[in-house]
């Protein structure tokens, strides 16, 4: 009789000590453990995380491995990682069924780096292995084609328009359809129609994340987007100046009124880091994003330094996360992308469990 044989239940019990720090629940309860196999005290299983951009995936894998290794008689543990991005709400009600999460990126005014942030976050998410789309809905100044170096026009596919692929991201831009000087004459209903077409007539395919670069401020594009599809939550881009808070708040108030949750704030041009000493200088003042975070109870998802290379990379058509991977600004973007992905997972997991209303009638 082999009395030291470990069974599946014991392994699952051992794995319950591993808590996802963002979701605050153990990996067994979260349903992450898949394909658990035990043979002759050799254990293998799969951890299916909620995003390939999970900031703590290596820690989770190590902890899971350790937890099982501690059981008596275990000879080998093999953990593989994968990710299944959770969807925001029931996908059936979405007019774009293949898209799991839609994340509008807004700001109170132009020039804060909204497009720069949108493009770098989209590319950073795609780099982790997620499927990512980027909708450039800024009719007044569509800059995504420049930042991502796109010269092609979208082609038509079987059912609609095919987005243009750039740096691993599927892109549709208002810039494909309007010249900047035309934008002035756009009226509400035309804007609404364009957004509807971007949503309904573009063959996005399956997307984990669709990032939407909005026009600055508040207006018809924001309104249409919020009314037409369920949004996972908005990201607000701001600069560190104390006065920027008031401006960013206009966008925040609009999202609140439109019942679009806030995922967090990104502070751009946050500080300047000396290349030689590594010292940080807060040229534009500081604390803008922190103040917003405190007042509106949303997390600061990242602070991006001011760096000439950010602009130069964008101008050359390769965003800095690829152009100068490893540079402080690129690292800040990658970390911000991971925090964003984590925040989305938190929201969706919470909605899944809270959505389970018990009805006895």
């Amino acid at each position: 009789m082999n009395d030291s044989q470990i069974n599946q239940e014991q392994i699952l019990d051992a794995l319950r000590v591993v808590i996802d720090p963002d979701l605050h629940r153990d990996i067994v309860a979260l349903g992450f453990v898949k394909e658990l196999k035990v043979r002759n005290n050799r254990v293998s299983f799969h951890l299916e995380l909620t995003t390939p951009a999970c900031p703590v995936k290596d820690e989770l894998r190590e902890q899971a491995e350790d937890a099982v290794r501690k059981l008596p008689g275990i000879e080998a543990v093999e953990v593989t990682l994968s990710a299944q991005v959770r969807s925001h709400g029931p996908t059936g009600q979405n007019i774009i069924p293949g898209i799991k999460n839609v994340i509008p990126v807004g700001s109170g005014k132009g020039g804060v780096g909204k497009s720069t942030v949108s493009a770098n976050l989209a590319v950073a998410l795609a780099e982790t292995g997620a499927s990512v789309g980027l909708m450039d809905a800024d009719v007044y100044g569509p800059s995504i084609p420049t930042i991502l170096g796109i010269n092609d026009q979208p082609r038509s596919g079987g059912k609609g328009m095919l987005p243009v692929e750039a740096h691993g991201v599927k892109v549709i831009s208002a810039g494909f359809f309007v010249k900047p000087d035309q934008a002035v004459v756009w009226r509400g209903p035309m804007l609404a129609k364009m957004i509807e077409q971007f949503l309904g007539q573009v063959e996005w395919g399956e997307l984990d994340y669709l990032v939407v670069d909005l026009p600055p401020g508040t207006g018809d594009v924001q309104l249409t987007l919020c009314q037409r599809i369920p949004l996972t939550g908005a990201l607000i881009v701001t600069t560190p100046q104390p006065v920027a808070v008031n401006i960013a708040e206009k966008a925040i108030i609009m999202f609140n009124q439109l019942k679009c949750p806030l995922l967090g704030v990104v502070e751009n041009m946050s500080y300047w880091e000396s290349r030689t000493t590594g010292e940080r200088e807060f040229i534009f003042g500081s604390g803008g994003a922190d103040r917003i975070a405190e007042k509106w109870e949303v997390p600061v998802l990242g602070k991006i330094p001011l760096a000439t290379t950010v602009r130069e990379s964008s101008d050359s058509g390769t965003p800095i996360v690829l152009d100068e991977a490893g540079s402080p600004a690129a690292v800040a973007f990658v970390d911000t992308a991971k925090s964003l992905a984590a925040q989305i997972s938190i929201r969706n997991i919470r909605a899944e469990s809270e959505g389970l209303v018990s009805i006895n009638f």
């Binding site: 709400g89 029931p90 919470r350 809270e354 959505g355 209303v357 009638f361």
Partner: protein, 109 residues
């Protein structure tokens, strides 16, 4: 009644208090009892409310005294559909709508 944040705009459970009336326990700890006939009178559907003007078409004398929910189904993560004893079931009652009604019923705004 405090229904401050959007997260709290969600029920935990929806139950029967008696043969007719509906009890909702909200995430923030509040419990509201919704009288059966009042729910029918508040139906937000296009038959009961003029979509353009927002004026309620449904009048008191159009609804039986003993009308009551016969069944309740969830709609997504955001609402319920109530099947009434008079066969009417086109109203989608969102959490928001039910919270607003709860405020009226409990005299809290």
């Amino acid at each position: 009644m405090e229904f401050s944040t959007p997260q709290e705009l969600k029920p935990i459970s929806i139950n029967r208090v008696n043969e007719y009336d509906v009890k909702i326990n909200w995430k923030n700890g509040m419990e509201v009892i919704y009288p059966a006939r009042r729910l029918r009178m508040e139906c937000p559907c296009a038959v009961c409310v003029d979509e353009l003007t927002g004026v309620r078409r449904l009048q008191e004398n159009m609804v039986a005294e003993d009308v009551h929910p016969a069944g309740i189904d969830p709609v997504g993560h955001y609402a319920i559909q109530i099947h009434f004893s008079d066969g009417h079931n086109t109203g989608i009652y969102t959490w928001e709508k039910l919270v607003d009604l709860g405020k009226k019923l409990t005299g809290n705004t």
